[in-house]
C-alpha cells in the first residue's frame, strides 16, 4: 500500500471540512460597524464576556438566546459610542461579575488572583528545599559516582558469568 492511496480520502475529508466551515460559522449573526475600531472592540468583547446562561462559553462561542441578545446590545452600545468602561458597567450591573472572564482585583476576588502566585511560591520553596538537601554530600541515600560504577561492574560481571 502506497502513501498516495491513503492520502486521497484524507484530502477529500479536508476539502469537505473546508466547504463546511462557512456554514458552521453562519450561526453567528453579522453586524455592520461605523469604524474598523468598533468592529475590533466588538470582537474583543465577545471573546472577553461570558455567556450568563452557559457555564464556560464566551459570547462569541454561544448561540443561546441570551448570548444573542447580549451581542445585539453590545453592538448597540458600540454604535452609540459608549466607552469600554461603560460597556463593562452595563454588563456587570445586570449580570454581575460572573460575566467577566477577567474579574477586577478587589476584596472578593483577591483569593482568585493571588492563589496561583501563592501556589507557585510554595512550589518554589519546596523545590529549593529539595535541591538543597540533595546538594549536601553524602546526605540521604545518595551514592557517589565511584560507588555507582562499582555496582554496575559487579552486575555486569554477574551477568557474564551466567551467560557463559
Amino acid at each position: 500500500m502506497s502513501n498516495r492511496t491513503a492520502f486521497r480520502p484524507l484530502t477529500g475529508l479536508a476539502l469537505l471540512l473546508l466547504l463546511w466551515s462557512p456554514l458552521l460559522r453562519a450561526v453567528i449573526e453579522t453586524y455592520d460597524f461605523a469604524t474598523e475600531e468598533q468592529r475590533q472592540r466588538y470582537h474583543h468583547f465577545v471573546e472577553e464576556l461570558r455567556c450568563p446562561k452557559c457555564q464556560n462559553q464566551n459570547l462569541s462561542g454561544s448561540n443561546s438566546a441570551i448570548a444573542e441578545d447580549l451581542r445585539r446590545e453590545l453592538h448597540r452600545l458600540l454604535l452609540e459610542g459608549r466607552s469600554d468602561e461603560e460597556i463593562v458597567d452595563f454588563m456587570v450591573s445586570r449580570y454581575g461579575e460572573f460575566i467577566l472572564y477577567r474579574p477586577p482585583l478587589d476584596r472578593h476576588t483577591l483569593v482568585l488572583w493571588a492563589f496561583p502566585g501563592v501556589l507557585l511560591l510554595i512550589g518554589v520553596v519546596v523545590g529549593v528545599l529539595l535541591l538543597r538537601r540533595r546538594a549536601v554530600p553524602g546526605a540521604g541515600d545518595e551514592v557517589g559516582d565511584a560507588e555507582v560504577h562499582r555496582r554496575a561492574a559487579q552486575l555486569l560481571d554477574h551477568y557474564r558469568k551466567e551467560q557463559s
Binding site: 450568563p52 438566546a65 441578545d69 456587570v92 445586570r94 449580570y95 454581575g96 461579575e97 460572573f98
Partner: protein, 175 residues
Amino acid sequence: MGRLKLFLPLLLFIPLGLLLMKGLQLDPQELPSALLDKPLPAFSLPALGDPGKVLTRDDIVGTKSLINVWATWCPTCRAEHPALVALARERGVRIIGLNYKDERAAALGWLARLGDPYALNIFDAEGRLGLDLGVYGAPETFVVDSAGVIRYKHVGVIDEKVWQENLLPVFEEIQ
C-alpha cells in the same frame, strides 16, 4: 518529629477535601443577582392582553409582588404554572408576569388553557426588560417590595418547597 511529618499531607488534604466537597454541593448555575437590593429598572412595555396599553414601573410599585419571568417555549414554566396559580388564588400573592421573548397569541392561549395567576402581564417580546433585570433564562422569579426594590431572585421552578423555604421567608419579611 519525623513521624509527625508523615501526617502533613493528610493535614493538607482534609481542608482541601472539605473545600471541594462544599464546591460539589453548590449549584454553579445559580448566579447571585447583580440587582439584589437595587430598584426595579424603569421600563415601558405593552400589556400582554392589550397591545394598546402601556405598562411601566409605576404599575408594579406600591404593593409587594413576585415578578415571574415566563414563556410558552419554556417547559419548566409549564411545570411551575400550577404552583403559581395556587399561590395567586389560595394565598393571594400578587404575581406580575413578564412574558419573555414569546408570542402573544401563544401566551394568551396558554393562560386561557392553564389559568391566569398574574395580576398584570408585561409583554417583553425582545427581552429588553429581561436584559435590564439580568434575566438569562426562564423561569426566574423576583421578589419586589412595595417600594419597588428587588429583594430576592429565584432561578428555576417554583414549587411548594421552594416557596416555603426560599420565597416565603423573604416575602413575609418585606413591606
